[in-house]
């Protein structure tokens, strides 16, 4: 039983980071109806940004993720203006191709600049652990969990309480009417795209100390983010956060009872089941 609860705890620790990734994707989908197939690639860029800060300026990744997130925000805004805005009113077909293309460019540019070498950040914290009763957890994971939760809660309040958040929800409810109410469509869309990308970047920075870094590291996270967003109901930001936790739990439990290598398959099967039987998501309300 201890092992079960330990696995649940591990799952939630990872799940909070997943929630951050999923919320970014959900934000972009909600406001623009564009599925960002480059999400994992942006996460990878966030990891490299944090890594560069660590490598050149000796900045601890748990501080470095903030400037990295900022860089990604600006980068996301520029990508929106140059590449996403022109396809805003085009078919899904073209939008998917566009984001796929952006993802390829990002991944292979990273390959060109940093080569395919595996890189790692060695920080002290990763070797320490925290014990509560019979349960143990890595100190670095607990810290990144806390930061991720702070971001998730912050984003929730931002979206529900602030004026920009209201504009954002207005556009996601009705992209035709919102601009008539005086909301600047381009600015809000650009802002939410940039914010979604920044969240992916932050998650990347927080994941960095735990993973080996290489240009293709983001690929799995694109697909994982889709799974979370679909679990939570496409476009629902809170749903995506819950989806992230569910995914973290299911992966951790699959690793415990079936085997580590099957975790990703369970993700996809979950995804296909939800898509075929409850496309509005397990937490989703029915949307148009």
């Amino acid at each position: 039983m201890v092992r079960f609860f330990q696995a649940c705890a591990d799952g939630l620790l990872t799940g909070a980071l997943y929630a951050l990734i999923g919320m970014g994707l959900a934000l972009i989908f909600g406001v623009m109806r564009i599925v960002n197939f480059a999400h994992g690639a942006f996460l990878m860029v966030g990891m490299y940004a944090t890594y560069v800060l660590f490598d050149y300026f000796k900045l601890n990744p748990y501080i470095g993720f903030l400037p990295a997130g900022l860089v990604l925000f600006i980068f996301g805004y520029v990508v929106y203006l140059l590449l996403i805005r022109p396809v805003r009113d085009r078919s899904h077909f073209m939008q998917i191709l566009m984001t796929t293309g952006i993802g390829l460019i990002l991944t292979d540019s990273a390959q060109l600049i940093f080569k395919a070498d595996y890189r790692q950040t060695n920080i002290d914290l990763i070797n320490r652990s925290v014990h509560i009763g019979p349960f143990g957890a890595n100190a670095a994971e607990v810290l990144s969990f806390a930061i991720a939760v702070a971001f998730v809660v912050g984003l929730h309040f931002f979206v529900t309480r602030s004026l920009t958040g209201q504009a954002l929800r207005a556009i996601s409810q009705s992209p035709e009417v919102a601009p008539l109410m005086g909301i600047n469509l381009t600015r809000i869309q650009g802002f939410s795209f940039a914010l979604g990308i920044a969240l992916a970047g932050v998650a990347g920075g927080l994941l960095l100390p735990r993973l080996y870094l290489f240009p293709g590291v983001g690929e799995d996270y694109t697909t994982k983010a889709f799974v979370m967003v679909v679990l939570g109901g496409m476009g629902s930001i809170e749903g995506a956060a819950l989806g992230g936790l569910v995914l973290g739990l299911s992966e951790s439990l699959t690793s415990l009872y079936v085997g580590n290598q099957w975790a990703l398959i369970v993700d996809f099967v979950l995804f296909l089941l939800v898509l075929s039987f409850k496309p509005s998501g397990i937490f989703g309300r029915q949307r148009a």
Binding site: F93, L97, L104, T107, S109, F226, W262, I265, F271, L275
Partner: protein
Amino acid sequence: MSILKSWKFWIGLIVVLLWARMPWFIRNNYQLQVLFRITLFAALGLAWNLVGGYAGQLSLGHVAFFGVGAYGLALFTEIGIPIWISVFLAAVVATIFAAVIGAIAFRLRGPYFTLSTIAFAEVLRLTATNLNVTGGAIGLTMPSLFVGRTFWRSFYLASVALTVVAFLANYWASRSRFGYYLMAIREDEDTASAVGINTALCKLQALLMSAFLTALAGALYGSAFQFIVPDSILTLEISVQIAIITMLGGAGTLLGPIVGAVLLLTASEAFKNQFRESHLLIYGILIVVVVLFLPEGIVGGLQHRFRRRIRPPADANPKPALGGAAQ
């Protein structure tokens, strides 16, 4: 025989014969191998075109059929079935997979459809990586369809034959009632369904044909390169490659996939020496360029321009054209 009077038929025949004669001009095995891949990807693009071009369904899971073709060939021959029957059986299995995938995925639209095709392909890749029977991450040695000194020449000719078959399937789709149904679905699925087209069935039929051809190409490809691992034969990269080849040349056009394959593979071959592992960069850049500036692809854009130049005076009361590559 009206077909014998059409100049297009004769030109096509001459092109095919010249294309098939290529190995007699080229003795270099590496160049033949590149030609083989160009031709094979033309066939893959044509197969994808049935679903992605005519029916307008953006599948990024076609590598599933490709991989099943290759794995099927390896596994069927292993249990003692003659090699050419194995190729056929592998393609049949891929078609059955397509029926299952289509039954679920075609209930979804737009991004949901694309996502589910990716998910299916990824499930297959991960399963192949984890099962012992498929050799896991270590992979399988493929049986050789051809042996001896004419190895690459035979594979090349087989790929030309496959491309011709795929082209004929596209030709049929562009002229038949079935093809018009597909195009109607692409333009507006709800309207198509409202005028009595069984949209689910049409899309599924297109996918089955497409999957069968894709699996044949997969078997050929796997056998030619003699060795398969999940990360080479079942990766999302191949699905993207097939889609972008067709989009670059012109989705929903007959010649588009062929033009796309020639251009893209030549370019990527040239870039491979320059950029090594980053040769997919050119794919990314091309995708962005195509989406922004050439949404109808090269052939699609040219056709559009030519039709406009030649036709207008002939019709005093122009009706909006059905089909075309308009979005």
